[in-house]
């Protein structure tokens, strides 16, 4: 199975090589070689034990050419955050669309560009940072992303620079003649004490059948602070493979929020390396799955240096025949003393056909640490239900309200009101009997 898929993508690579980017050819070829070497993961790989990608590999997705398949103004309106003043980079089916985008003025301090339209000086920088810490050997899909790399976003903030408004990267997929795959690549590089907020939105339209295979690399230099959001609302037939790698230097801070609502088969890998004293990472996640959805979140935090801390909260609500996987690994390396690492994963199972497989892992090689993790699987609290019912709220509404409150534990950590409100709205929409509770949430 995996060999047939490798052959398919090798042929696909050949087909596209005529109009390849050229300037990163060496990296693309070495990634292709890595793919040939490792193949695609199967359930025999421990990290993919619960996620079978055979259905994805069977599809023989192809890359679609740049076309003018536009997204209407109305559709854009539903995608944009109302009341959120932000820059936007819009990609349609994997290709940058400048007409729909609005970028900050690029200069010495701030440089934001799409990869396909990058000038020579930006290209040089991209080549410098590409795969500096992330690895094509992570899994076959990461290699595939680099091998087919031709578009995405490059964000660079120089020392002490601050990007004044959030950057909203919008990846839209709509219906095409054949099912297709896109490989967006984002590089976010923050200099010392730089600050930025980046929102990645993945949106599927028209119930299109496609695959998004995305890689995001983040480097936060000393004292930098990045707030990163990933809002995944792919279509019901879509596959989404996401790999985020962050390398955090001394005293820098990364706040990651990952919200997964859409997609048929979704896999998110978030690897963070705390490489300098005082670095902190906060990982926030929410997954809501129904029908036949399969959502897999793998996170890994490497405490390489002393005095680093991490804080992780992932929550999931599962209905229908949905299946979710959570794997949170915290590694405290040798001599990394004075570590504070906390992790929790809570799951609500709403249906007997739903399944959750959770595995919070700790690997600790130092002694002066405070590490805890917890995982729960359960139902709504009967006492809380009783409380609401005794106040004349019917059972269905009460259940919906409590489910929302459960999910909101993650959403309320989002600091931007427009994003928070939009998500609350979306989450309510995903809950059973949504209409009943909307009046409570005004």
């Amino acid at each position: 199975m995996t060999q047939a898929a490798i052959d398919h993508y090798l042929a696909e690579h050949k087909r596209l090589s005529n109009n390849s980017a050229g300037w990163i050819e060496k990296q693309r070829l070495s990634a292709l070689e890595s793919l040939g070497r490792q193949g695609f993961p199967s359930t025999r790989h421990e990290a993919w034990k619960y996620t079978d990608v055979r259905s994805l590999l069977k599809q023989n997705f192809i890359s679609v050419d740049t076309d003018d398949s536009t997204v209407g103004a109305e559709q854009m309106q539903t995608i944009r955050f109302p009341d959120l003043d932000c820059y936007e980079l819009v990609f349609v089916n994997g290709h940058f669309n400048s007409a729909l985008s609005s970028l900050p003025a690029s200069g010495e301090a701030i440089n934001v560009s799409s990869i396909s339209t990058a000038g020579d000086d930006v290209r040089a920088k991209i080549e410098q940072y590409l795969n500096q810490y992330a690895s094509t050997d992570k899994h076959g899909f990461a290699a595939l992303n680099t091998a087919f790399l031709n578009d995405g976003t490059f964000i660079h903030a120089a020392d002490n620079a601050q990007i004044d408004k959030p950057l909203h990267l919008v990846f839209i997929s709509n219906k095409q003649n054949s099912s297709f795959i896109a490989h967006p690549r984002n590089l976010i590089i923050l200099g010392s004490n730089a600050r930025a907020t980046v929102i990645e939105s993945y949106i599927g339209l028209d119930n299109a059948e496609y695959c998004t295979n995305t890689v995001t690399e983040i480097i936060t230099s000393e004292g930098a602070h990045l707030e990163h959001y990933k809002l995944q609302q792919e279509s019901d037939l879509a596959y989404h493979i996401g790999y985020l790698h962050a390398h955090c230097h001394k005293d820098s801070r990364l706040d990651s929020h990952s919200i997964s609502l859409g997609g048929l088969l979704v896999r998110n890998d978030i690897d963070t390396v705390l490489a300098g004293r005082g670095a902190h990472v906060g990982l926030n996640g929410l997954y809501i799955a129904g029908n036949n959805q399969h959502i897999d979140n793998h996170t890994r935090v490497d405490h390489n240096m002393p005095n680093t801390s991490s804080d992780e909260t992932y929550r999931g609500v599962l209905d229908g025949k949905a299946r979710a996987v959570f794997n949170g690994k915290v590694v405290v390396h040798k001599d990394a003393q004075q570590i504070d690492a906390q992790q929790s994963n809570a799951n609500l199972l709403m249906s007997d056909d739903a399944e959750i497989d959770t595995k919070p892992e700790l690997e600790i090689y130092a002694d002066d640490v405070k590490c805890t993790h917890g995982a729960t699987i359960g139902q709504l609290d009967e006492n809380m239900l009783f409380y609401l019912r005794s106040r004349a709220i019917d059972e269905t509404t009460a259940r919906s309200l409590l489910t929302f409150a459960f999910a909101d534990e993650v959403i309320k950590r989002i600091s931007f009101a427009p994003i928070r409100e939009r998500l609350e709205h979306r989450v309510v929409g995903r809950l059973p009997d949504a209409s009943l509770i909307s009046e409570f949430l005004q």
């Binding site: 595995k359 600790i364 805890t372 139902q379």
Partner: protein
């Protein structure tokens, strides 16, 4: 913490207390494993044809299998052809009728261990089926058990006298092809214990065996089978220490427990095989498959283990909760010091309705040791109202050791309630300070804190084991505090 480090140096040099070799002329075959060896073992034990078939089937299966490498442990590959698979004390032909007839050297060995048989017989009221190397040489209290209808004998005896029971239950919990080491065990096991508690009987005494590896170069392959028939109750103790050795020794035991309707089995272990010296040289490889099957309604299986020995421990006492309302429990203290490695935990497979399980695991890691908890809690689709509570805590002593947690939780039923909690920390400076301030010496304070850390598990042990366990903990950890 520098003062602690000095304590480590001064106190950790304690040699393994139980290191001695009893010189008994063993009836050992040449190292190597093939079908002939298996036939030899079977013939030597005068086994019926079905037993030999079972062994050969297991052996052929084993040949097809690969040694598992997923555990968080590191060791030199084992050469299975360099192990001798049979060894028995010479005096086996005329089995002793009472302790007086037992080889005095054997008795001496037990006395050195602090568990002399005659003392046990009088004081504890415990029937001991002593397994010295591979053949059972002394069994006590047989008549008293026989009065109650309880069958408690060596495995070889059970094959001869109760073949119908053995045939019915052997391999029904741990099938031949279950894993690499259990397949090996099924092919070459030489002896072990068999226990059957008839319907409605509450076993009148705690049953216990002491395993001991003695002859050099001999792998120990024990097989234990305990069947608790409807409404019965049994508490079984297993404890072991081993003499000091240089080569690594393989120990691949299989334990099968079966609890029918309303039956209860309590299985307690204190494991203190030789852990190797302070440089990680020598020591036992303890690769054990232990599994209990709560086959009947309202049945209960409770595992309690104190693991202080072995160079490498690879052990997951598990419970299959098949009967409705069945209960599984796992209480574990695993201590690793110097270069010991442990990868241990449990599996709780919820299949019946209203099943519940509790897992309390305490891992202590000192100096250069690696200690991992690996567990699985699985709620099957039909397991309505399943309940699990898991707590695994790790205590680190010294900045070179490691503590790891790999819990797998799989839930397929919406009425499942599963909680997992894990913490990792070292002994708090403030805790130590509190004790020191009140005039408690640092060593006593550490002992006190460690014992408190393990209390939840120790209190599950039968009285006579709890004492031994605390002693063992002291011996294993004394001075390893920093």
């Amino acid at each position: 913490m520098s003062t602690h480090a000095e304590d480590v140096e001064s106190l950790v040099d304690k040699e393994y207390e139980h290191g001695f070799v009893t010189d008994i002329d063993s009836d050992t075959i040449e190292p190597g494993l093939n079908e002939e060896v298996i036939s030899f073992i079977s013939k030597k034990k005068n086994e019926p044809a079905w037993m030999l078939d079972y062994r050969l089937k297991a052996y052929r299966q084993w040949l097809k299998m690969e040694e598992p490498l997923w555990a968080h442990v590191d060791y030199e590959p084992i050469d299975y052809q360099s192990i001798s698979y049979y060894s028995a004390p010479k005096s086996k032909d005329d089995m002793p009728k009472s302790l007086d007839e037992v080889d005095p050297k054997l008795l001496e060995t037990y006395e050195k261990l602090g568990i002399p048989l005659h003392e046990q017989k009088m004081l504890a009221g415990v029937a001991v089926d002593a397994v010295f190397d591979s053949v059972s040489v002394a069994t006590t209290f047989k008549s008293k058990l026989a009065d109650a209808g309880v069958i408690f004998c060596s495995f070889s005896e059970a094959v001869q006298e109760h073949p119908e029971l053995v045939q019915k239950y052997l391999g029904s919990v741990v099938p031949i092809a279950d894993n690499y080491f259990s397949a090996l065990n099924a092919a070459v096991f030489t002896d072990g214990s068999f226990c059957y508690i008839p319907k409605g009987v509450r076993c009148p005494m705690e049953l216990s065996t002491y395993f001991r590896i003695n002859a050099s170069n001999t792998g120990q392959f024990e097989r234990t089978l305990i069947v608790a028939d409807e409404g019965s109750h049994v508490s079984y103790l297993e404890g072991c220490t081993a003499p000091m050795r240089d080569e690594n020794q393989l120990h691949a035991a299989v334990v099968e427990l079966i609890a029918l309707d309303d039956a209860e089995i309590k299985y307690s272990t204190v494991q203190n095989w030789y852990p190797g010296d302070e440089n990680g040289k020598g020591g036992i490889y303890n690769f054990v498959t232990k599994r209990g099957d709560c086959r009947g309604r309202n049945s209960k299986i409770s595992w309690t283990q104190v693991e202080t020995g072995s160079a490498i421990t690879w052990k997951y006492p598990s419970s299959l909760l098949r009967g409705d309302n069945s209960v599984g429990e796992f209480y574990s203290v695993a201590v690793t010091n110097n270069y010991q490695q442990a990868d241990t935990g449990t599996k709780m497979i919820h299949i019946g309705k209203n099943t519940s399980s509790t897992i309390i695991s305490k891992g202590i890691s000192a100096r250069f040791a690696q200690n991992a908890y690996r567990g699985l809690v699985k709620i099957s689709k039909g397991a309505d109202n399943a309940r699990n509570y898991t707590q695994c805590d790790s205590l680190l002593m010294g900045d070179k050791c490691g503590a790891h947690t790999f819990p797998y939780i799989e839930a397929k039923n919406s009425s499942a309630q599963v909680e997992h909690e894990a913490t990792t920390s070292k002994i708090g400076d403030d805790q130590l300070f509190y004790c020191r301030q009140r005039g408690v010496s640092e060593e006593d304070a550490v002992n006190m804190i460690v014992n408190g850390f393990c209390k939840d598990v120790f209190k599950e042990l039968p009285m006579e084991f709890a004492v031994e366990a605390q002693k063992l903990l002291g011996v294993t950890l004394e001075g390893a505090v920093g």
